[in-house]
Amino acid sequence: MADLRSRIEVAKLARELDVAESELSYLADASASDLRELRRVTGAALFGRHEARAKLLASANGILPMAVAAKISERALGAALSARVAGVMEPEAAARLAGHLSPGFLVDLAARLDPTRVGPIVAQLPEDTVLDVARRLLAAKDMVTLARFVAVVDPAIVAQVAERADSTELLQMVLYTEDGAALGVLAQRLPEAALVGMLEVADDEEYDVAVERLGYLEPETRDGVLAQVKRSDRF
């Protein structure tokens, strides 16, 4: 079977292209780093293709009352196109617009946003809004989207949400988070019991990748966590 890291990358690429993972399963024998690069190139091409139109819509938002711009986002454009537009908006304007969007739409939007482009927008959103969206994503078990935002959301907020996740959900979040340093900051804030529980529900392959991802933890914390993990098949 293909490496878990590669299968995770295929899942992310499938999401980018809005297709079932099975349509891209043959790619899973490539290395995770090559697939990450393919996803980067593909994402840039998709974004670049309609960047001019997205910028026009962003400009139009500037002349409209925010309530109207929000209605256009939700009813005319939908989450996918609105995410493209958000990627070219001034952070201040985008944050103001977000204040007029319904919580449900913000959740749909989060799943479509490119976190690497919207970090400055997220930074300007009220903490309550970010927390509410994150909790809704957790309730929907959309751990892939939550994982994508670990690097751009205030670690205190991410930790609040991660503490509410069960062991399996937390494991998914850790496996899908790309930014190892941000993951280290998150893990440092979580109770050791949460990390131990997460490793105990992992299968062998997930365990290896999760431990690798926890490499950014301070060595003492990491060793303390690993010492508490009870895995009958390993010890």
């Binding site: 349509e23 891209l24 690069e37 091409a45 998709l46 819509l57 256009i72």
Partner: protein, 76 residues
């Protein structure tokens, strides 16, 4: 050099050597990936065209000519 790979690189607007991961696959699989990318781009194109038209319906009447002029510039 694979024709399908060249086509894909052209669609992604990158040199062929920026997608080395795909050179390991046969023409059929590269073509399949190229078609998926093509479909994603076409669907987004159609969604933008539809979205721009629908957006005007929500613009207040007084602002509609200005908005139409702004958004119309992005067609085609």
């Amino acid at each position: 050099m694979s024709t399908a790979l060249e086509r894909l690189a052209h669609r992604l607007r990158v040199p062929v050597d920026e997608v080395p991961v795909l050179s390991r696959y046969d023409e059929e699989r590269i073509l399949a990936f190229e078609q998926i990318v093509h479909r994603a781009m076409d669907e987004e194109e159609a969604a933008f065209t539809r979205g721009l038209e629908d957006a005007l319906e929500f613009v207040p009447r007084l602002l509609r000519p200005v908005a139409k002029k702004m958004l119309g510039g992005g067609r085609g």
